[in-house]
Structures are given as structure tokens and as C-alpha cells.
Amino acid sequence: MTPLQFTEEQRDCLQELVNVAMGLASDKLARYLDTLVHLQVPAIELVDTLQLPQHVNQRYGEQSTTLVSLGFFGDQGLRGEAIMLYQLENVGVIAQLLGYSDDDSSEAEMLTDISSVLTTTSLNGLAEQLENSFSYAAPRILSSRDQHFSRKLTETASQWQLALMVDIRYQLTDYSFNCDMMMLIPGEAVLRLRQMLDKILAGF
């Protein structure tokens, strides 16, 4: 086992923290979005960044995806980049359903807005569980519609050691779609995260 891999205990602990964080976020978002949205407790998966491009490829294949990135930084060296992946066909619908069609916002603006709300709400929840707090960089759309993301991931894989894939599923009254949140965490921060998990585990 490399020092960056998680023990089963650490993994379970993280899964539990994410579940709680997502539950909180789900509650907040549902209220904010006028209870139209139900956020299901997601499944998380830890992926080696070398396998990540494959993973993404399997999931999205040759479909067009839109990606929005949002960097986060916490205390004690915990940091990373959260990436929201949307299937292109969902993008217009998200905006419409979340009531963003009433003004002059561009699609890009709506997408960054929604991503920002979803990621920061979820990450704030996670930070709270880790007794930490995060500050955020402004969200950015990473890829235009025709670029293929897995290729990009291959190019940047060396900067990241761990990817935490969080599958978020939104259910709306008469429509359902899902998108993924991916947290990319660099090696040093992975070690920090493991230490934090160990501390929490020791407290039980």
C-alpha cells in the first residue's frame, strides 16, 4: 500500500462524513431551491488519478460534458479542486428548472452559479464534519463543449494523487438528472486528510 492509499477504516469514515455533509447540503439546497430538488445521499469512490481518465471515460464515454472547476483551501493544508461534471443535454434543463430563465444570464453564467452553489454547500458541510472551514476560488468553466475531458485529465494527472468521486443525484418532481462532483486532492493534502480522519477515528 502506498502512503496515499486509505485503509478500510479511513475510507468508511470518509464515506460517513461525506454522507452527513451531503445530507446537510441536501437539506439546505432543498430549502433554498424551494423544495423542488431532492438531493440523494451520494456514493463516494476514491480513485487513483492515473485511473481517473479511464473512469471518466467509462462513465461519460463520448458524450459531451461540461465541467466547472472550483478550487478550495482549508486550514492545516487541506486543499483541492472540486469539479462538477454535467452531461451537455442536462445543462439547459438545470437552468430552466432552477428558475434561472427569467433574466439575461448567459448559459455559462447560470452554470457557474449553480455549480458554485452546489459545490460550496456540499464542501462547507464536509469542512464542518472535518472541523475545518474552506475558502473558495471563483468557479470557472473548464472545457468547452467539444473538448474531451478524459484527455485533459491525462495531461494533468501528475498534479493530483487522489480523486474523490462523489455522485450526486438530483430528483425533481417530474424530471430527474444526475451530475457528478469530483474532488481532486493533491498528495500532500491527501496525507493531511488521512491524519484528520485518523484523529476523528481515534475520538470514537
Binding site: D104, S105, T112, V117, T120, T121, Y136, A138, R140
Partner: protein
């Protein structure tokens, strides 16, 4: 050192705008950056609604952003590339930038007073006018590059590479919609002699003048390019062979009747034209056929138009 005492002057000197609102979006504070640029005095507007103090804000949009920050206690962002500005403020580059207002990156953050229940919101405004300016410059440079990349340096018409790309495009279009498409290739007659007599600068002047007078004879949709030294090509979309012949004959006679003045000398010249028309052949084949027709025009006395006809049959048209 009493740290809190330095925050006020720090905020005043900060080169970013800071606006603090209460949970009802009433103005609690803004720093000097905002006061000077918006020309408002804090004490005069304190306690008033943000939307009353700054009446040209994008209200529905900003309201939703503020709501998300207040209710979810998460930050919200706005980028100048997506929305150039939120607050209509002047910027400090009025001479060097075309933009009317300061391009802005904005962050809206939840603020909770330590120990208190009172929750506030902070709008942080960063001047991104320089980035905006460089982006504009970059875009105009890209546009120029794109133009340069498709233009023949001497004559100003399309260069060979771009012209051939366009032929491919027109061929696809003609195939898809089953529309006619024709091609002219022409060559100045005895150009080498002309170059020897008047020098290369004289030759260049002739090429430029010819390109100009032919451009004036073409429709906007025709695609005119320099194929090689003294060889030119015209793509004629939506044009049958007989239509192309009319254009070719007009070009031929216009140039023959014209003289070009160079260094107080009148230079007379003629050109020969080969015509081919699209019949499901490839772009290369179309060019090759026009080239064969052009060769025949040269062989049959120059200053004339010939069309390509299969099986070696030569059709005399002028």
C-alpha cells in the same frame, strides 16, 4: 499594537471595493474605493437599500445571488468575462481602454460578526479592466492574424491555401444541395516578358492592378484567390458552366481593353482562362480540369477562354 485601529485605514486604501450589507440588503458600509468611484458619501446613504443607493444594478440577478449567500452561507462569484460589471463604476484607464465601465470580478461572501447573531454580506469588487483590455487586444490580434493567414501579401486577395480550403467547402455545399459550382483558373499572358521589360516591381504592380479590376467584376459570394505566381483562381458558387463562361469572357475582355499605368508607361496585357464545372469530381480534379482548359487556351493563341471537355474534345467558345 491595537490591530483593529488599522483596519479602517487599510479598507480605505484597499484597491478593491468593499460593500457590506445587512441581511435585508441595506448598506452598512462601503470603503473609499466605492465612495470615490460611485461619488456617494457613506453617511448619506447608510441604512438605505443597496438597490436604491445604486439604482442601475442588475436587480433580479443580484438579488438571487445575495439570497443564495444569505440562505446557504456560501460565497458567490461573478466573473467579468461572463458579466462585465455589476456596479457601473468608472475605471482608471479612460485613455487606453475602450470600455466605458470598470470590468469587475466580484465575490459575495457571508459575514457573521464574532459571537453575534447578526449576519451580514460582503461584496468584494476587483477591478479587472486591465484583463479586459488585454483580452480585447488579444482578440483583435487574433482577428488580424486570421486575416493575414488567408490573404496573399501582394494582391490582398485570398492566398492559395485558404482559396483551396474554400473550394473544398463549396464542393461539399454543392454536393449536399445539388447546386451548380464552377471554377476559373487564369494566367497572365507572357508575364515573363512583361517582367523582363518593366522589372519585377512593374510585374508586381500589374498583378495588383489585375487583381483589383477583377475583384470589381465579381459577386460578393465569388471566391477570388492567387493560385501561384501569375496564376489566379475564382470559385463561382451557384454558377453553371454557361454562367461561368459569361464571367470568364467578361474578365478576359475587361483586362484586354485595359492598360495599366506603371512609371508613366501604359502596360497592355491579356490573360487566358480555363473553366471547369462541378460534376461530382473532387476539388483536385476540378482544378486539374480547369488547368487543362487553361493550357488549351494558351495553346490556341492566348487572350481567350476554354472550357474543360472530357475525352480530349476541345470546345471553342471565343
Amino acid at each position: 499594537m491595537q490591530l483593529s485601529g488599522v483596519f479602517e485605514p487599510l479598507l480605505a486604501q484597499l484597491n478593491s471595493g468593499v460593500v457590506v450589507l445587512d441581511s435585508q440588503y441595506r448598506v452598512v458600509f462601503f470603503n473609499q474605493f466605492i465612495a470615490r468611484r460611485a461619488n456617494v458619501i457613506l453617511t448619506a446613504v447608510q441604512g438605505q437599500s443597496l438597490f436604491d443607493v445604486f439604482d442601475d444594478l442588475p436587480k433580479a440577478w443580484l438579488q438571487r445571488k445575495l439570497d443564495s449567500v444569505r440562505e446557504l452561507q456560501v460565497p458567490s462569484f461573478s466573473n467579468w468575462e461572463q458579466r462585465q460589471y455589476i456596479f457601473k463604476l468608472p475605471h482608471l484607464r479612460p485613455l487606453s481602454t475602450g470600455s466605458d465601465y470598470m470590468a469587475q470580478n466580484c465575490s459575495i461572501m457571508p459575514l457573521t460578526a464574532p459571537g453575534g447573531n447578526a449576519s451580514y454580506l460582503c461584496i468584494l469588487i476587483e477591478d479587472a479592466t486591465d484583463a479586459f483590455f488585454y483580452q480585447q487586444q488579444l482578440q483583435s490580434s487574433m482577428l488580424q492574424l486570421e486575416l493575414a493567414n488567408r490573404t496573399d501579401g501582394l494582391t490582398g486577395i485570398y492566398n492559395r491555401r485558404y482559396w483551396q480550403q474554400q473550394l473544398q467547402q463549396e464542393l461539399l455545399r454543392a454536393t449536399r444541395y445539388q447546386h451548380p459550382l464552377s471554377l476559373l483558373l487564369f494566367d497572365l499572358d507572357k508575364f515573363k516578358q512583361l517582367n523582363d521589360t518593366y522589372g519585377h516591381q512593374g510585374g508586381d504592380a500589374v498583378l495588383t492592378a489585375v487583381a483589383q479590376s477583377i475583384s470589381a467584376l465579381l459577386r460578393d459570394t465569388d471566391i477570388f484567390g492567387r493560385y501561384g505566381g501569375e496564376e489566379f483562381g475564382v470559385i463561382l458558387p451557384e454558377t453553371t458552366l454557361s454562367g461561368a463562361l459569361m464571367v470568364a469572357n467578361r474578365i478576359c475582355s475587361t483586362i484586354a481593353e485595359k492598360t495599366i499605368n506603371y512609371n508613366q508607361q501604359d502596360i497592355a496585357l491579356t490573360l487566358s482562362i480555363g473553366v471547369s464545372s462541378f460534376e461530382q469530381q473532387s476539388a483536385d480534379e476540378m482544378i486539374q480540369q480547369a488547368d487543362i482548359a487553361l493550357y488549351n487556351a494558351k495553346r490556341q493563341g492566348r487572350n481567350c477562354v476554354r472550357t474543360y471537355v472530357a475525352e480530349g474534345y476541345l470546345q471553342k467558345v471565343k
